[in-house]
Amino acid sequence: MSRIRIVVGPQAFDLGQEYAALVTGDVDSGAVAAFVGRVRDFGSDSVMTLEHYPGMTEKALAAIVDTACARWPLAAVTVIHRVGRLAAGDEIVLVLTASRHRRAAYDANAYIMDYLKTEAPFWKLEQNSAGRQWVEAREEDDTERQRWEAP
């Protein structure tokens, strides 16, 4: 059984603390992959607000992580996704994957992010001095996800 930690909330996360918690007591995982997603600067005084669907968000993330755990030999997975108001440079999302070998850690990490971006119910609202707008979904994100579905 993989150790799974999923957190959705407004709090900032600390990569070092999350890494330490992930590997404590685990001397079998020879590889840990970490992905951190950050808010890009999109204009002066820019603020991003992350909305989500409480209940479904956690359920969707758990399903994505479970599928990854069935596909790769993962000892532990951490997924943290922030919601609420964020500024340029703030961290939005953290995915940590621990495995015996690096390929599984890398691939499972990318898989979780590709599915998170297309299946987990989060929406970004950008506001700056020029106005406000909901971020449109990118077709490239669907393409990225589809590479995992090829036979």
Partner: protein, 84 residues
Amino acid sequence: MKTLHLVYFARLREAFGSAGETLATDAATAADLVAELAARGGVWLAELGGGRVFRVAINQDMAQLGDALPDGAEVAIFPPVTGG
């Protein structure tokens, strides 16, 4: 007649001016429900009438338009997701 608990998110919540509603309906599938809402006209037709892309979740699972709607279901309608 069945009762559905509808919830709207992000751009659609703002366009509809509503975070959700309880609806008594005969809609059998998600497609029936969407057609019923689009028939309200105005912003409902603009968002759900085929001009824009949206997603539907039934009881907090992503759904297809052909999926059946159980009585008492929570049905969410929202734009394609943009997290991460």
